[in-house]
């Protein structure tokens, strides 16, 4: 429902603003342009997107996700000390993080949910500190290769759509660190029931 309100709001605001600023005709033309542009965008980025999901499938079958999760486990044990000895939870978290790194969103979500379910058994109905950590880490994008964005840039005529990668990695790393820090700080300060 949130999107319904936002969309209606966007359309209403543009009509109102267009009439007030005398750009009514431009708004009317833009409505049709936008719809056409969406199809065009999808067509041009479909190639890149398909190529990457194809490459990701190869990597998945070659066992790259398993390798990544094995490498990640020591770090994750530190991040979730309460569950460090719970093999099932650590397995699903590690698989979730490596799927996120590879941009396998469809695989990452069920794995993360599995971890969340197992973790919530200790505190039914309440988001414990490690659960908050899991969710916050999943809301901070750590995808190594943002394919959809690269597709959009390619569609806009960019010669090197992946030249933003270092900037994306830097920004992602800072964002994840900020999220982890926020969970640690909020975890100390939060008063339950208050």
């Amino acid at each position: 429902m949130a999107m319904a309100i936002i969309w209606t709001g966007m359309v209403a605001v543009s009509i109102l603003c267009g009439l007030l600023t005398g750009r009514g005709p431009a708004v009317a033309a833009a409505a049709l342009d936008g719809a056409a542009a969406a199809v065009e965008l999808c067509l041009t980025m479909a190639g890149v997107l398909c190529l990457w999901t194809g490459v990701m499938e190869i990597m998945k079958r070659a066992g790259l996700s398993e390798l990544l999760s094995r490498l990640l486990r020591p770090v994750l044990r530190r991040l979730y000390p309460d569950f460090a000895r719970d093999g099932a939870v650590m397995d699903s978290i590690a698989a979730n993080v490596s799927a996120n790194l590879l941009g396998l969103g469809n695989a990452a979500t069920p794995l993360g949910i599995q971890a969340a379910r197992l973790m919530s058994r200790r505190t039914p109905g309440v988001a414990s500190d490690p659960l908050c950590m899991l969710v916050v880490c999943n809301t901070a994008s750590i995808q190594l290769i943002p394919t959809a964005v690269a597709g959009v840039r390619l569609a806009a005529g960019c010669a090197a759509p992946f030249d933003i990668l270092p900037a994306v990695w830097l920004a992602s790393a800072l964002s994840v660190c900020a999220g982890i820090l926020a969970v640690k700080i909020f975890g100390r300060l939060w008063r339950d029931g208050g």
């Binding site: 936008g34 969406a38 965008l41 969340a116 759509p161 830097l170």
Partner: protein
């Protein structure tokens, strides 16, 4: 370094294929099957993009986005964020396809290699659809008391936006 980044795509392609072959994976079959899944994803986002780009194009043509950028501009400029990205930052935590729509409009309008275009791309690539993710995870795990999950996740988003603008300036300008 620059050559390496330009070559990152073919290098990943080759290393994935060789790695797969060594592990006796049907590399080509996997590629084609994966590409098919990519097509499904594209088809799934197309209807949402039609709806959203219509609204975003209307907003841009009406001058409402310029107005919002002008109002919030001084504050955003002070923290180093291009004010044109204000719409993207507002929808990013709420809807992934909306953010892709707003972002792609920015990238097309200002050019993929402009400061605004690059910042929008990095913002899209380094943040997630926060509210949707929280709803899915906590819904599936039956969590009703979310405690500080939402504010903490929004802190990460805010840091991501600031870091995106900063990283683009440091790396490209």
């Amino acid at each position: 370094m620059k050559l390496l980044i330009t070559m990152v795509v073919p290098l990943i392609l080759a290393s994935a294929a060789i790695c797969g072959l060594v592990r006796r994976v049907d590399v080509y079959g996997a590629l084609v099957q994966g590409a098919g899944e990519g097509l499904e994803v594209t088809l799934k986002i197309l209807p949402a993009l039609v709806g959203l780009l219509t609204a975003v194009y209307m907003l841009r043509a009406s001058g409402a986005l310029d107005l919002a950028a002008a109002v919030l501009g001084p504050l955003l400029t002070r923290v180093g964020i291009p004010p044109e990205t204000v719409g993207l930052m507002l929808v990013r935590p709420i809807s992934g396809s909306a953010a892709l729509g707003v972002g792609s409009e920015l990238i097309t309008a200002y050019g993929p290699d402009s400061l605004v275009g690059r910042t929008a791309a990095v913002m899209l690539g380094s943040t997630e659809t926060t509210f949707y993710t929280i709803a899915v995870y906590f819904g599936a795990a039956g969590i009703t008391k979310s405690r500080y999950a939402v504010p903490a996740a929004l802190c990460a988003d805010l840091a991501g936006f600031l870091a995106a603008a900063w990283a683009v300036r440091v790396i490209f300008y």
